[in-house]
């Protein structure tokens, strides 16, 4: 399969999945932005109304963190089961196994584009200016995307080989939700060493914080750290592509027989 055809196929598969999804619900495409907004609303109710968070501009703070987290968590969770749930196709054609997670991730990317648009509109409406710092969003989003692809590939292989990884991945996402500073500020922990440690070991926490620094505080992210993450996840993606090509038939057997 040529690379251009592979890209076309990912695009068509993603669009078809989106269209199929939209016809299932009465509100159709509106769910793309409604679902993440409802997530934010639930969190806002709990942490601002009930627990009384004192974070300034808590709703914006929460939106930036939560909407980025949902992109990551949903894409990776769905990518993880993508090979196994495409069993029917896997048993009938010899296609690159990366196709299945990539189609799911592409679907998430199209949805996220509209979510980011909405976020930017809210930011502008609430008085946050567009500044030159926003240019840093480009490398940031790129690294964010690479991280999703790398984790999605790893998850898809793990679940194809041993199904028991599926609940573990779901659990891992909940763990990340609590440890990445979505509804609390990683910079307000009171202990700078703890903040530094969390930012160093949890790439998602670093990325969420970087979005907030750019969008809310006009501060560029720690570029060496960002580039290191980009290189790391980029390398992991390459490695996974090679491994999934090498063990394509093995993955098919596992998906078909487990």
């Amino acid at each position: 399969m040529y690379f251009s055809q592979y890209l076309r196929l990912i695009d068509v598969m993603a669009r078809m999945a989106l269209r199929a999804d939209a016809t299932k619900f009465f509100l159709g495409y509106i769910w793309w932005v409604l679902e993440p907004l409802l997530f934010v609303a639930v969190f806002y109710f709990v942490f601002s109304v009930i627990l009384g968070s004192r974070e300034p501009d808590f709703i914006i703070f929460l939106m930036v963190g939560k909407l980025t987290y949902v992109w990551f968590a949903k894409s990776v969770t769905q990518a993880s089961t993508s090979i196994v749930s495409s069993k029917g196709l896997v048993g009938q054609i010899d296609v690159p196994k990366t196709l299945f997670p990539m189609a799911v991730i592409q679907e998430g990317l199209y949805k996220q584009a509209s979510v980011f648009m909405l976020l930017f509109v809210v930011l502008l409406a609430t008085g946050y200016p567009i500044t030159a710092t926003w240019w840093y969003l480009i490398p940031l989003m790129l690294v964010n995307y690479l991280m999703i692809v790398a984790c999605g590939f790893v998850g898809a292989c793990l679940v194809a080989m041993v199904r028991d990884f599926q609940p573990l991945i779901t659990l891992g996402m909940i763990f990340l939700m609590f440890t990445s500073g979505i509804f609390w500020d990683i910079r307000e922990l009171g202990d700078p060493h703890k903040t530094e440690l969390l930012l160093a070991v949890n790439p998602l926490a670093f990325l969420l914080d970087a979005y907030r620094q750019i969008l809310m505080h006009e501060t560029p992210p720690d570029m060496p750290h960002l580039l290191t993450l980009g290189a790391g996840f980029g390398a992991l993606v390459c490695l996974m592509v090679l491994a999934m090509r090498r063990y394509s038939q093995f993955l098919a057997l596992k998906a078909l027989t487990a």
Binding site: M1, Q5, R8, L9, V12, M13, M16, A17, R19, A20, D21, T23, K24, S86, G88, L89, V90, G91, Q92, I93, D94, V95, Q249, F250, A252, L253, L256, T257, A258
Partner: protein, 248 residues
Amino acid sequence: MSVSKHRVMLSLDKVSLSYHTGRKTFDHGVHRVLDEVSMDLYEGETLGIMGRNGVGKTTMLRLMAGILAPTRGKVVIQPGKKAALLSLGLGFKPELSGRDNALLSAMLQGSSLEQATTFLDSIAEFSELGESFDAPVKNYSAGMRSRLGFTTALMTHVDILLVDEVLSVGDAHFRGKAQEAMKNRIMGGQTVVFVSHMADQVAKLCNRVIWLDQGKIVDQGDAVEVTDAYNASVAEERKIAAAKKLLR
């Protein structure tokens, strides 16, 4: 037709396939699907693979198509040639129209978006779906689904066509049409491997037949002779089963 003069397109050399079922049932949880199977497929021939359900027929096709790799042994295909399964209802998404599903199937089978788009009209025509072609597949009857599936699959152009129990689809009228289309392919020199548990169909379409049982080749050779032997063995088994029932 004599096939011996033709080139070998694909061969299996002592091919075995087994996998761990995870549950320690028998053989320490190892399930053997194929056991040292060797065979040659010649250019332009129609080879039948026959046997009851669960003897490894579909697995053999999947090995030929490169979907699975053998645990031991080798699958050798002539360089530059490609084998593919004629797949019914490849990835049907019930919420989408027949048109969208056909497009996706054609692309998954290797067509470019442009090629797939040009196929759509002939798919609509051959499948006789009419206006339903643009309706969601979830509203289709089983017969309509299989008509769409067969027609889309028919568009695949490959060197070796692997067909898995496919001609038992749709109503009598469409079944006839499907068999006709398949015969045209065969007459046109297409190399075909045809899997079925229906001996009559195999005898009608194939030049040569392989009889598979419990992952091993029992017999191979002239289509009529092997299907007769197979039918006799099935009849024999039925008699034994009936006798056992009487004794109980």
